[in-house]
């Protein structure tokens, strides 16, 4: 099977802070199974607090799972470069962009790490242009950027690292309607040009439908539905998926919003 990554029975639990005695654990994720095919885009949606970001961190190797295993098929290149094949574009970029440094040198540095000997100017230009980062923004420091600009700056640094797997955590949330569509096109382009495999976490199901090949819906730490993205809309299976699709119009009353379970 030509998979880049395979998650087998992944579980994650933490000490339950409300229990002071004994060893009861709070379960964040349980029995997560999926295979990520090389070059594909997988979408993850689901309840807020259902463990999507935790799953992203486990997939990227930032935190170890409590149970199960991850089997990966990354290229041997990474051993030589000594950087990591998975990168995450995080949700809260305000935390990640250094407020007191200019954007451009941080990109230079990242390119240097990957390509020590080469002249990286052309690649840098390409990255800035594809992300619409103007000369003016390149010279700005982190604190001078708006939420949406910080996000693009963070993405520029990730493209400079050129990972094999790119995980996007809520990439659309800080963007205006035009930038949202531009981002969709950009992710598709990155996927095709760099043959980069992607996981995209988002709450906007119609964006995920446009971008992704396959989709996963999560609820209370479990995968409740896994299907091709078109099928999810035309024939949703799990009651939570149906509920989520319905809530997308913001028309529900308080009683209708109480999802059973």
């Amino acid at each position: 099977m030509n998979y880049l990554l395979k998650l087998e029975n992944i579980g994650y639990s933490v000490r339950d802070p409300s229990v002071t005695e004994g060893k009861r654990r709070k379960i964040i994720l349980s029995k997560i199974n999926f295979e990520l095919e090389r070059g594909k885009i997988l979408g993850i949606a689901g309840e807020s607090g259902s463990g999507k970001t935790t799953l992203a961190k486990i997939t990227a190797g930032i935190i170890p799972p409590s149970e199960g295993k991850i089997i990966s098929n990354f290229s041997d290149e990474w051993e030589r470069i000594k950087t990591y094949p998975v990168q995450i574009l995080f949700q809260n970029n305000g935390d990640i962009i250094n407020p007191l440094r200019q954007i451009e040198p941080t990109i230079d540095e990242t390119l240097q790490i990957r390509n020590r000997s080469k002249n990286n100017l052309a690649e840098k230009e390409k990255i800035f242009n594809s992300l619409n980062i103007s000369e003016l923004i390149r010279k700005k420091k982190g604190y001078e950027l708006s939420g949406g600009e910080q996000q693009r700056a963070a993405l520029a640094r990730i493209l400079a690292a050129r990972p094999e797997l790119l995980i996007l955590d809520e990439p659309f949330s800080a963007q205006d309607p035009e930038s949202q569509l531009n981002l969709l096109n950009l992710f598709k382009k990155i996927n095709e040009e760099y043959k980069m495999t992607m996981i995209c976490i988002a709450h906007n199901l119609s964006f995920l439908n446009k971008l992704c090949d396959e989709m996963i819906i999560m609820y209370k730490g479990k995968i409740v539905e896994k299907s091709l993205s078109g099928d999810l809309f035309s024939a949703p299976n799990h009651p939570y998926t149906k509920f989520l699709l319905k809530a997308g119009d913001y028309d529900l009353s308080y009683d209708e919003l109480k999802f059973p379970g």
Partner: protein, 247 residues
């Protein structure tokens, strides 16, 4: 309730936004739309003098109950910010000190325990006993967003200013936000000022919508006119961007 008469906001002596004149009335939800980096967050921070004076300057006045918030003293502003005009900022998780448990914020804000439990329950958050023991890094981005909203409501403000409150939360919970905002303005006689990129959400939630583009503030107009009005090509381009997508 609030009367903004701002001539200009500039950053490092570069003009950023001009002619921001509007009133917020009771029982209404107001929304500001605009492109990335157009100055939406700057605008809402300017209203209560929250901008860093080393970089920003605001020319004008903002009246709230006869007080000009831009020239009011520190003690007076402290009480306005603590009790009357509350914010939920973008990336709410960054509003918390990661080394303090949530208990610290709740104890500071309110002693009305039943109200706290009711709101936590409403927003599908863990009960107080559990939540209070958690640190901010132990909750998800969407949970931090909701906790920040609950804390703002517990202060019992008259005006709520929300910057992208629904980013990072699923549509069912966004829907809960919407209902709570309506209740806040209609039943408690208050006002909400909202910044969002979710046009669908803005349309469902708002009574009036304003727009910012290229340093210009297009004043609030009733939601149905904002979406109907075909005369302003800039707003039209924003609402239906000319970008095609090929799968």
């Amino acid at each position: 309730m609030l009367n903004a008469l701002i001539d200009e906001i500039s950053v490092n002596e570069r003009p950023l936004l001009g002619e921001i004149k509007f009133r917020l009335e009771r029982n209404k939800i107001y929304t500001v739309l605009g492109s990335n980096g157009s100055g939406k967050t700057t605008l809402i921070k300017s209203l209560t003098n929250l901008l860093d004076k080393r970089f920003y300057s605001v020319n004008g006045k903002v009246f709230y109950n006869e007080i000009d918030l831009l020239s009011a003293g520190y003690a007076q502003m402290l009480s306005v910010r603590r009790e009357k005009i509350k914010y939920v900022f973008q990336d709410a998780i960054n509003s918390f000190d990661h080394l303090k448990k949530f208990e610290y914020y709740f104890k500071m804000n309110s002693t009305r325990n039943s109200e706290t439990e009711k709101l936590l329950n409403y927003f599908l958050l863990p009960e107080a006993k559990k939540l209070f023991r958690l640190y901010p890094y132990e909750v998800s981005g969407g949970m931090a967003q909701r906790i920040s909203f609950v804390l703002a409501l517990l202060a019992g403000p008259e005006i709520l200013i929300l910057d992208e409150p629904t980013s990072g939360i699923d549509s069912a919970i966004s829907n809960l936000f919407l209902l709570k905002m309506k209740e806040f303005v209609l039943e408690k006689n208050n006002a909400v000022l909202l910044v969002t990129h979710d046009v669908k959400f803005a349309r469902k939630a708002s009574d009036e919508i304003a727009f910012i583009s290229n340093g210009k503030f297009y004043n609030f107009k009733p939601t149905e006119f904002f979406f109907k009005d075909g005369s302003d090509s800039i707003i039209n381009n924003f609402l239906t961007p000319d970008v095609s997508f090929q799968k």
